[in-house]
C-alpha cells in the first residue's frame, strides 16, 4: 500500500511538471502557431542555469526562478523576433508556416543542444536541494518534489488567471480561437503571437528549474521532453489549458506506473502507447470536439 501511495505521489509530481511544461508549448503552438521542436532544449538549458546558479553562486533554485524565468522570457522574445517573425511574414498559408517553423526549430534544436554539449559536456548532472523526507499519505516523499509541485500549481494557476481575467490574456485566447477574426476586433495578432511565444518560453524555463531539483538531466535530453510535451498538448487538445493539465497528469502517472511495475527503460514506450491510443480513439484530443 505504501509503495502504491509513493508511486501515485511521484506520478502526480511528474505529471504536474509535464502539465506545466506542456502549457507553455500549447501557448506557442496554439496562439503563436509555431511548432517548436527546440522546446525541450530550452527546458534543459534552464536546468543547467539552475545548476550553475546553485553550485557557483549558492543561489537556491527557487530564488533562481526569479532570475531565470524573466531571462527566458526575453530570450524567447528575441528568438521569435529574429528567427520566427521572418517565417511568419513570408508564410503563404498556416500549413506553410507550420512546415517552416518545424524546420527552423529543428535546426535551432541542434544549435542549442550543441552549445550545451560544448559548455557542460554530455554527462548526467544533478544537485541536492531540500532533500528532506516528508511523510505524506502513508508514503515518504522528498520535500523538493513537493515544493516543485506546489510551485507548478501556483504558476499554472497564475497563468490561468492571467488568460481568463486580464485584457491581454483575453486577446491571446481570441487569437487562439481565430487569428483572422481577432484582427477584425482590433487585436494586434503579431504582438499577441510574440507575447505568447515568450510566455511559453518563460513557462518551460520555470518547468526546467523545478524539474532540475529532483531529476538527473543531461544535455541530450531535450528531445524526449519536447516529445512528451507535444504528446500532452495533442492529448489535451491544442490550446486547451485544462486538457493540458489532465493529459500531463495522466502521462506522469502512466510513466511512473510503468517505471515502477514494468521497467524504467520503457517510459518512452508508455508515452507512445498513450499517444497511439489518443490518435486512434480521439484524434482531436481528450476534450476536443472537432478534428482539425
Amino acid at each position: 500500500m505504501e509503495a502504491v501511495a509513493g508511486t501515485l505521489l511521484s506520478g502526480v509530481v511528474l505529471g504536474g511538471m509535464y502539465g506545466l511544461v506542456a502549457l507553455g508549448l500549447t501557448l506557442q503552438y496554439g496562439i503563436a502557431r509555431i511548432m517548436n521542436l527546440a522546446y525541450g532544449e530550452f527546458l534543459v538549458a534552464a536546468c543547467f542555469a539552475a545548476l550553475w546558479l546553485f553550485t557557483a553562486a549558492g543561489v537556491s533554485p527557487l530564488l533562481g526562478l526569479l532570475l531565470i524565468v524573466p531571462a527566458a522570457f526575453l530570450l524567447n522574445l528575441l528568438v521569435y523576433r529574429i528567427f520566427l517573425a521572418p517565417l511568419v511574414r513570408r508564410a503563404a498559408s498556416p500549413a506553410a508556416l507550420e512546415t517552416d517553423s518545424i524546420l527552423a526549430t529543428f535546426g535551432l534544436l541542434f544549435v542549442v543542444q550543441g552549445a550545451m554539449l560544448a559548455a557542460f559536456g554530455g554527462a548526467y548532472q544533478n544537485y541536492s536541494v531540500l532533500a528532506v523526507p516528508v511523510p505524506l499519505l502513508g508514503a515518504v516523499v522528498p520535500a523538493n518534489r513537493l515544493v516543485a509541485l506546489l510551485f507548478a500549481v501556483a504558476i499554472g494557476g497564475a497563468l490561468f488567471l492571467w488568460l481568463a481575467r486580464t485584457r491581454a490574456g483575453t486577446a491571446l485566447r481570441g487569437v487562439a480561437v481565430n487569428p483572422v477574426a481577432a484582427q477584425l476586433v482590433g487585436i494586434d495578432v503579431r504582438r499577441a503571437a510574440a507575447l505568447a511565444f515568450a510566455a511559453g518560453g518563460a513557462l518551460v524555463a520555470a518547468g526546467g528549474v523545478l524539474v532540475s531539483m529532483f531529476l538527473t538531466f543531461n544535455a541530450a535530453m531535450g528531445v524526449v521532453f519536447t516529445m512528451k510535451a507535444l504528446v500532452v498538448v495533442i492529448m489535451g487538445g491544442v490550446g486547451n489549458l485544462l486538457g493540458c493539465l489532465v493529459a500531463g497528469l495522466l502521462l506522469g502517472l502512466a510513466e511512473t506506473a510503468v517505471a515502477a511495475w514494468v521497467d524504467p527503460g520503457l517510459t518512452l514506450a508508455a508515452t507512445y502507447a498513450l499517444f497511439l491510443g489518443v490518435l486512434i480513439a480521439r484524434p482531436a484530443g481528450l476534450f476536443g470536439r472537432v478534428a482539425r
Partner: protein, 303 residues
Amino acid sequence: MSLRAFGLALAALAALALLPWLDTGFWLALGIGIAQYAVLATAWALFSGPTGYVSLASAAFFGIGAYAVAVLGEALPWPVVLLVAAALGVAVSLLVGFATLRLSGVYFVVFTFGLAELIRQLVTWFEVNVTRTIGRYVFLDATQAGIYWQLLALFALLLAAGTWIGRSRLGFALRVIGGDEVVARHVGIDTARAKIALFAVSALFMAVTGAVMAPRWTYIDPAIAFNPVISFQVLIMALLGGAHRLLGPLLGVVPLTLLFELLNAHFPNHASILLGAVFMLVVYAVPRGVIGLLPLLRRRAVA
C-alpha cells in the same frame, strides 16, 4: 524524371562504379559517404517532397536495417538479410502510417520526431532484459568496394522506382495531395492509402541502406545505429538540393557531405552547433532548394 534523364543517370552511375579501381582509401570512403546519403536523402524526398509531410524518422529506418544485420548477419545469407531489413522497415512504416497519415500532418511530424529514440530504447530494453548483451559485433567479409557498389545499385533502383512512381497514377495523386489535400479527397483520391504506400517505399530504401552500411562499423550498439544526426543530415541535404524533384536532393548531398567531413575533422566539439546553423541558413535562404533556383536563373538569363 524523363526516361532520357534516367538513362543518363544510369550511365553516370556506371561510370562512378569504376571508382574502386582508381582509389581504395580516402576517395572510396568519401564515395561511400556520398552514395549513402544520396540514397537516404532521395528516399526522404520521394515521400516528403510531393506530399509536404516532414519526416524526422530517417534514423529510425536506417537503424532498423543496421540492427537487422547486427542480429541476423551471420545466421542468414546476405540477400535474405537485406530482404528481412527491407521487410522490417516497411512493417514499421506501415504502423506509423496507419496511426498518423490518416490525420493532419502535424501528428505525423510529432510521431516521427521521437520514433528513433523510441526504437532505440525498445531495442536497448530488449537486449538488456532478454539477450543480456548491449552491442554486437558484425563480422562479415564485406569489402569497401562491395558496400560502395551495393549503394550505387540501390541508388539506381531508387531512381527507377522514383521515375516509375512519378509517371504513374500514384505519383499524380501525390502531387495533387501536395497541392491541396482537400481537393485531392474531393476528386476521389484515397489520400491515406497513397501517402502510406509512398512512405513505405521510402522507408524500405532507408532500411536497406542501413543494412548495407552496417558491416562498416564491425561494432554496433543502439546508440550508433539510431543516431539522430542521420535524420538531421538527410533532411538538410534534401532541403538544400530541393525535395520536389527526383535528382534535387543529390545537389545537396555532395556539398554537404564534404562540408560535414570538414566540420567533423576540424571542429569535432562544435560540429552540432555549426550543423544546426547551416540548417537554419538553408531553411531561411533557399526554401525551395538549389534546384528551385534554376528556373529563376533561367528567367533572368532570358530577360
